[in-house]
């Protein structure tokens, strides 16, 4: 048995044990999400319009993450509403900063990996960079929105006669904690995903200014910041959405 299959099975068993039927749905959401990412890659490689593909798949991914991953439709509705609005704002931010930083394509460090591959494939890699950035942030945004509304709704559920002021105070408490750790998830995800690159910079004695101006570093650093900004915007928006929904 290959390692991947064994890990897949272990995860399935654990998710059923701890999550029950809900666990199976979460498991499905991850599989579907993977298929969506791969489908995006396939469609673009066949020459599909990159902007249109993104416009179709971004809401689709949010829907899968939130509605299949979350099992309480009250939580899902609120999370979708707030995370979709945040995503729209973030896309505008990404377009602006990606234009300013001018980081299309693949870094010079990938040189060896590119041997035998075409360097004029006829695809807009600047636009693909935007998709990569949007996709990377989607997870963080929707997770923060779900965690926020799950906590807030559970709180409302346990204490139905909570005053509006106390609710906002508790909301801010939960939000601060969520921001703190969401930032860490993003940071460590970023460290984890680019450990090899940082070791490369250190081993080859890059100067600080060389790193700060490097294409790959800029790409990754910007993506990390987009995700954190997304999570930041989720906190007030979700508290607002949950507080102003009558039926809970």
């Amino acid at each position: 048995m290959s390692t991947m299959l064994a890990l897949l099975l272990t995860l399935l068993i654990l998710m059923i044990l701890i999550g029950g039927a809900a666990g199976i749905k979460s498991y499905l959401s991850i599989i579907i999400n993977f298929c969506l990412v791969f489908l995006v890659a396939l469609l673009i490689s066949w020459g599909a319009n990159i902007i249109l593909t993104a416009a179709c798949f971004v809401p689709l991914k949010l829907l899968t993450i939130i509605y299949l991953g979350t099992h309480d439709t009250r939580i899902a509705d609120k999370s979708f509403l707030s995370s979709f609005s945040v995503t729209v704002i973030i896309v505008l931010l990404i377009l602006l900063f990606n234009f300013l930083a001018q980081t299309p394509g693949i870094g010079e460090q990938a040189g060896e990996d590119l041997i035998g591959l075409s360097d004029g494939p006829g695809l807009g890699f600047a636009a693909i960079g935007v998709i990569v950035a949007v996709f990377s942030t989607l997870g963080a945004i929707s997770e923060a929105a779900v965690a926020m509304s799950a906590g807030l709704i559970e709180l409302k559920h346990q204490n139905e006669d909570l005053s509006a002021l106390k609710f906002y105070q508790s909301g801010l408490n939960i939000g601060e904690d969520i921001l703190g750790t969401a930032v860490n998830t993003i940071l460590f995800g970023f460290f984890g995903s680019f450990l090899a690159l940082f070791i490369w910079y250190t081993r080859l004695n890059y100067t600080v200014s060389q790193i700060l101006n490097d294409k790959l570093f800029a790409q990754e650093f910007l993506i990390m910041c987009y995700s954190i900004i997304g999570v930041l915007l989720v906190i007030p928006l979700t508290t607002f959405v949950v507080a102003h929904s009558k039926k809970i």
Partner: protein
């Protein structure tokens, strides 16, 4: 309240100054030039070996050098790039670039991007000040502190040259977790519950995954596909995986303990059974989305390469193996950590927040 806006204003002003300074700064070792004029000379349709059409565009650039011995001199050069901008890129008027000048021949080595990094850092700081207030400093401090620790860990790893990876990165993970929780929470029962849950879940899930890896003889793990490897790719993979798991497990421990502690605060006599119900309810809701966070970070990264491989008529299985498979493995191990955190976080919340408080 007023103080917050004054501080935000200060951050805004300092930010504007810092961005302008970095943008116009010419005090670098390398030579800097500004592109004063761009003219497109040629646009040729080209076909690659896989029959895909691209455009090869040639621009004539006029540069004015801004520092060092050639300061003030103007140069012209030709830049040829593919419209795809996969490896080479298009230049714009007023863009600042690093150049190399040899015998009156000028070549562009890189685009100046540091000012954009400064710009986004201040955008982030400003938004944090306005939306969160005081806690913004803590978040920023933890970002900086963790980066410093990360740098120290890398130095240490290079010294060991890929040996003892599991020990190095497990210890690093525990230090990262302790530092972050100390900063955000201070020392109290809630923090202890979060920290204990994080460490237990991290070691448990990595231990389990590593056991599975060994039992299956690491069959099908394409270590060759680790990007930018300057040391044993297996050690890089293990380090990356441990760091990825850490973030997710920390996040979920905090979410669950934090929500449970609000519930305990409003209802101190909650039973273990009720707490497990609530913990599981919260856990079930965030499990899926959280797994997707890391999954997307790991996947999206490999997307450009995946697209390129597929575009170059590689088989789907081959493309998957060389571009996405390691990210999938990392996500799976993180996912196992995330699922195991639900019981550990609830148990820790019960032990530290209900039992210990009651015995006081």
């Amino acid at each position: 309240m007023k103080k917050k806006y004054w501080l935000s204003l200060v951050v805004l002003l300092v930010g504007i100054c810092a961005v302008l300074f970095t943008y116009f700064n010419t005090n670098y070792q390398a030579t800097i030039a500004v592109i004063t004029h761009v003219e497109q000379l040629d646009d040729v349709k080209v076909k690659d070996q896989y029959d895909d059409t691209d455009h090869e565009i040639t621009q004539q650039l006029t540069l004015r050098v801004l520092n060092h011995q050639h300061q003030g001199k103007n140069y012209t050069l030709k830049n040829t790039y593919e419209k795809s901008q996969l490896q080479d890129q298009k230049y714009h008027q007023y863009q600042r670039v690093f150049v190399q000048i040899r015998r009156n021949q000028v070549s562009i080595s890189n685009v100046k991007r540091d000012w954009v990094i400064v710009l986004i850092i201040f955008t982030l700081a400003l938004l944090m000040m306005i939306l969160i207030g005081n806690k913004a400093w803590l978040v920023l401090a933890s970002l900086i502190l963790n980066s410093v620790i990360f740098y120290a860990v890398i130095r240490f790893d290079i010294q060991k040259n890929g040996a003892g990876t599991i020990t190095i990165y497990s210890l690093a993970a525990i230090i990262f977790a302790t530092v972050s929780f100390l900063l955000y929470q201070g020392i109290h029962q809630k923090m202890l519950a979060m920290l204990t849950s994080t460490i237990v879940a991290l070691l448990l899930s990595f231990g389990l995954s590593y056991l599975i890896m060994r039992l299956t003889n690491e069959k099908g793990i394409t270590y060759m596909a680790v990007e930018y490897a300057t040391q044993s790719p297996r050690s890089l993979f293990i380090g990356q995986t441990l760091l990825g798991v850490l973030g997710a497990v920390m996040d979920e421990s905090t979410d669950i303990v934090s929500s449970l502690s609000e519930i305990i605060y409003h209802n101190p006599r909650i039973t273990g059974q009720q707490l497990w119900q609530s913990g599981r309810a919260i856990g079930q809701e965030i499990m899926g989305p959280l797994i997707n966070v890391l999954f997307l970070i790991f996947m999206a990264d490999a997307l450009p390469m995946t697209i390129l491989y597929l575009r170059n008529n590689n088989a789907i299985a081959y493309t998957f193996e060389y571009t996405l498979s390691l990210g999938v493995l990392q996500s799976l191990i993180s996912a196992i950590g995330i699922v195991l955190t639900v019981p550990t976080a609830t148990l820790c919340a019960y032990y530290f927040l209900v039992k210990r408080e009651a015995s006081k």
